[in-house]
């Protein structure tokens, strides 16, 4: 056991709040009240043992209400992990799904999962427009992870972005030539892109102070710096795309493996195969894909459908940005 003086020096209530101890204790009591029969059979201590063990393992969020799923960073990470583990096969099969279909999958794990959040994640993948396009599983997952885990942070980011766009920041002058000297070293690359979005250095200053005082989880400041340090100007969605694709975000969050390994989980593959081998009659229906139960059946030709073109289209989008994000911002 290593020592952590910081933890030992905190006042009691701060220690408890920081680790969300009371959130879980309260929830344990709620669960107990909902399952009174269980405790008459197994005893209270056993009930609590199982509850806290399931919290440790991250299985406690399955089929729970949204308010609970987003209540703590651990719950959010557990949900992301559960989503990945349950529907990884979608990605493996190379299926592309629409936002609504991903939303169905989310609702299988959390019946009252809000559509708004899925939409926001889809906007990150699709750069704001064309929300009913098809998306690959890993693209959606990474965007969804950023949106879901950091949603409070992203809301503040959106507000800051709006401020900068409308020039509310006292230091802001959006005209590029008037920005402080050291940022003007590089010659402007694309004339058109210069006028879109906000200036990265200003944006970074505001986000840096946001990270400092933000009481919710924030992406690692080093990642934010890197994302904003590579460009002169960028749009809100440009920022979100870069943030969600940055491996540092995924690593800091710790819920999912590296992007390259998203489809790779030999232990679980083996387990699946072992289970499937036990029920030979079901092999065909089960491997057909887990969403079969809730989604319209997918015709085979769609699996290979325009993955390349879609991907390409998105890349083009990323470079020359959509101009619609301002209108979109105002509704969030």
């Amino acid at each position: 056991m290593m020592l952590s003086p910081e933890r030992l020096a905190l006042p009691d209530y701060e220690y408890l709040a920081q680790r969300h101890v009371l959130t879980y204790m309260e929830d344990a009591v709620c669960q107990l009240l909902e399952n009174k029969e269980d405790i008459s059979q197994y005893g209270v201590a056993r009930f609590f043992t199982e509850y806290f063990n399931s919290v440790c393992q991250g299985t406690h969020i399955l089929f729970r209400e949204f308010s609970f799923i987003q209540a703590t960073p651990h719950n959010r990470a557990s949900f992301l992990r559960a989503f990945w583990r349950c529907f990884r096969t979608v990605g493996k099969n190379g299926d592309l799904l629409t936002m609504k279909e991903y939303h169905c999958l989310l609702q299988l794990l959390c019946p009252d999962f809000p559509l708004e959040l899925t939409q926001k994640a889809a906007r990150i993948v699709l750069m704001d427009d064309a929300v009913d396009c098809l998306m690959s599983f890993s693209d959606f997952l990474l965007a969804f992870q950023t949106q879901f885990y950091y949603s409070e942070f992203l809301e503040s980011v959106a507000a800051i972005y709006q401020d900068l766009l409308s020039g509310k920041n006292p230091n802001t002058v959006i005209v590029p030539t008037s920005s402080s000297g050291q940022h003007r070293q590089r010659p402007a690359l694309g004339e058109t892109s210069m006028l879109e979005g906000v200036e990265a250095s200003l944006f970074y200053q505001r986000l840096e102070s946001l990270c400092d005082r933000h009481k919710y989880s924030c992406p690692p400041p080093a990642v934010v710096r890197e994302v904003l340090g590579n460009v002169q100007r960028l749009t809100f969605y440009g920022f979100l795309v870069a943030l969600s694709k940055h491996h540092g975000t995924n690593q800091a969050l710790g819920a999912l493996p590296d992007k390259g390994d998203l489809m790779h989980d030999p232990a679980m593959d083996e387990e699946l195969e072992r289970l499937l081998a036990q029920i030979p009659d079901l092999v065909n229906t089960v491997t057909a894909s887990p969403e079969a139960s809730c989604l319209p059946s997918r015709t085979p030709h769609r699996a290979g459908f325009s993955w390349r073109t879609l991907h390409h289209a998105r890349k083009v989008d990323a470079e020359s940005d959509g101009s619609t994000e301002e209108t979109d911002e105002s509704e969030t």
Partner: protein, 303 residues
């Protein structure tokens, strides 16, 4: 959430229940579709009563106090273990029928004592001392006709268990056990018990760190370290231990260990490297044994 004062769990629990009265299946109380205020309040009150009656309120309060006392790094898994142990010590109604045999009882007592001892790290001295006290009571209240108290046999058994679970090689800790063990039929007073437990836990940590140190010296391909190098480190260690002349509390040895700055060590190792002659290897066991011997030499024997 961080800045807000946290209300007592019972008050907050009640608030939670009020927010979602329809979910709780308290039959007959929430059957109507529209929950009225008074009904919701009644349900909450009813549930509070229920929680009190079943003993949940008391149980959670005790658990919360333990969490605050120990301040574990992972409070949730701490709670899981806490309740698991509680479930083992008080089998649910309908569980184990007949009382367990004497030997089993003894094992259970040892298990519970160990569990209490591990709740808090020994550097959190107040919490650790409290837990030592509870463990001592666990072991003393033997329920047999004999006079209460802890005998040397149980105490030695506990020491062995701690060392075994601490994954320190037996030959490394054996000299310590010889020093702090009591005779089988001797009564063990609380202060001897406490010193013994503390020394044991500190030694285990010392050995763990020595082991980490050895890992740095180890040649990964040969799985052994250079003898001169190992000896140089051990000598530096010995020097640091002798520097702290206050020989009362074992914790001072750890302090002295922290005085071993990396630069000091590096110097010693550099000297050993410069005087390079053909050298024999040193195994992990030997290194640990020698390091532990330095520590154990400072421990006062019991009695």
């Amino acid at each position: 959430m961080a800045g807000l004062p946290v209300p007592l769990p019972s008050a907050k629990m009640a608030a939670v229940e009020k927010r979602r009265p329809a979910i709780a299946p308290a039959a007959g109380f929430t059957d109507s579709g529209r929950p009225s205020m008074s009904r919701a309040a009644a349900t909450a009150e009813n549930e509070e009563d229920f929680l009190r009656q079943v003993g949940v309120t008391k149980m959670l309060r005790a658990a919360l106090l333990k969490v605050l006392e120990a301040r574990p790094e992972e409070p949730i898994s701490f709670l899981a273990h806490y309740f698991e142990n509680m479930g083992l010590s008080t089998p649910a109604n309908g569980g184990a029928g007949e009382p367990p045999g004497q030997l089993l009882l003894q094992q259970q007592r040892l298990g519970r004592a160990l569990w209490h001892l591990r709740l808090a790290h020994h550097s959190q001295r107040t919490a650790f001392n409290n837990n030592v006290g509870v463990a001592y009571e666990c072991l003393s209240a033997s329920g047999r006709k004999k006079k209460p108290g802890l005998d040397g046999r149980t105490y030695s058994e506990l020491l062995k268990r701690i060392c075994r679970d601490g994954e320190a090689p037996e030959e490394v800790v054996a000299p310590l056990l010889r020093k702090i063990q009591c005779r089988d039929h001797e009564a063990v007073p609380l202060d001897v018990f406490r010193t013994g437990m503390l020394t044991c836990f500190v030694l285990l940590e010392f050995v763990a760190r020595a082991s980490a140190l050895y890992q740095l010296l180890e040649d990964p391909t040969l799985a052994v370290a250079d003898r001169r190098m190992g000896q140089a480190v051990l000598d530096t260690l010995e020097g640091a231990l002798q520097a702290s002349n206050s020989a009362t509390a074992p914790a001072h040895y750890l302090e002295a260990g922290s005085l071993l700055g990396p630069d000091n060590l590096a110097l010693a190792m550099d000297r050993a490297l410069v005087a390079r002659r053909p050298s024999s290897p040193m195994t992990r066991e030997e290194f640990l044994e020698k390091a532990a011997a330095l520590f154990i030499a400072k421990v006062k024997p019991v009695g």
